[in-house]
Amino acid sequence: MDLDKWKSQIIRGTLEYCILLMLSRKTCYGYEILQKLSAYPTIASTESTVYPLLRRLQKEGYLQSVWQDSAEGLPPRKYYSLTSEGCAYLQAMNDEWQNLSDTISDLKRKTTETKKGAS
């Protein structure tokens, strides 16, 4: 059973969605996104995954960013937020996710019904 491989594929496919969801609620800086992700063991990621992903999303026009030189000796932070394209993209992703989730629950329901019918 190669569950780890499957799990890493799920993360690769959904991390983008998770980050957009996070940013739709509030503007975040890169390290903050990493911290928030680490609260969920399933999608916890490191710099080498998240930063290039943020960069790509920005290049594709879904995110915008701005550097803020924080006061009190804190390091400068790069804040990311959704663009209007990003919001539309997230909306489309929400719909797709709903479809997928409905499909899975439908398949699961049918499986249990078949099992009941057999016994």
């Binding site: 990493l34 710099e47 080498s48 930063y51 790509r56 290049k59």
Partner: protein, 185 residues
């Protein structure tokens, strides 16, 4: 920020060389910011470095998209382009001149043949046999009227052949320019 981190960032910068300088600076600034955040959380140096991973690998993660876009050298791409130009160059050496010459020639002959048949036919009506227009099958020579009819049919066939060759040439050129565009994209 201690020397170990400076070295780490410099190594990343070196591996990011295929990227434009401004983007490279921005990437380094963001990683540096991450390191400073972790330092302010009192994380030990070794733990920070472990989390960031080998500098070469981290740089590669940024380069991944860039290389996939084809701005950098890749053997596969080189072979595709190489195959395209060899094939195009070689086929073009024959196809373009052959079609380029035959197409107008077919069209020209297609126009001349019925004209010559007409001259022969009109000549025969006035009792004059035009000697340089002859339709001959083996030993049988067609009469002027049949020569005219035959020349019209042959003329039409030649015109069709000429048109076909011309269209083939255009299509060949279109296909090549489209393939080239696709390769450049």
């Amino acid at each position: 920020m201690n020397a170990a981190f400076e070295t780490y960032l410099n190594t990343i910068d070196k591996h990011l060389r295929p990227l434009p300088a401004s983007e490279r600076a921005d990437i380094i600034k963001e990683i540096k910011s991450s390191i400073l955040e972790m330092e302010s959380e009192q994380l030990p140096e070794a733990q920070i470095l472990e989390r960031l991973g080998a500098p070469k690998e981290l740089a590669k993660a940024y380069l991944g998209d860039f290389i996939a876009k084809g701005n950098d050298f890749s053997l596969n791409r080189f072979l595709t382009v190489f195959a395209f130009y060899s094939l195009t160059g070689f086929s073009g050496m024959f196809i373009v001149p052959i079609l380029g010459i035959t197409a107008p020639m077919f069209l020209l002959c297609g126009a001349i043949a019925p004209a010559a048949g007409l001259v022969k036919f009109i000549g025969s009506l006035f009792g004059y046999d035009v000697p340089f227009v002859v339709a001959q099958f083996g030993t049988m020579t067609l009469s002027p009227a049949f020569t005219f009819l035959y020349s019209v049919v042959m003329g039409a066939v030649l015109l069709l052949l000429g048109r076909g060759a011309w269209k083939l040439l255009l299509r060949y050129i279109c296909t090549i320019s489209q393939t080239k565009k696709k390769l450049a994209a």
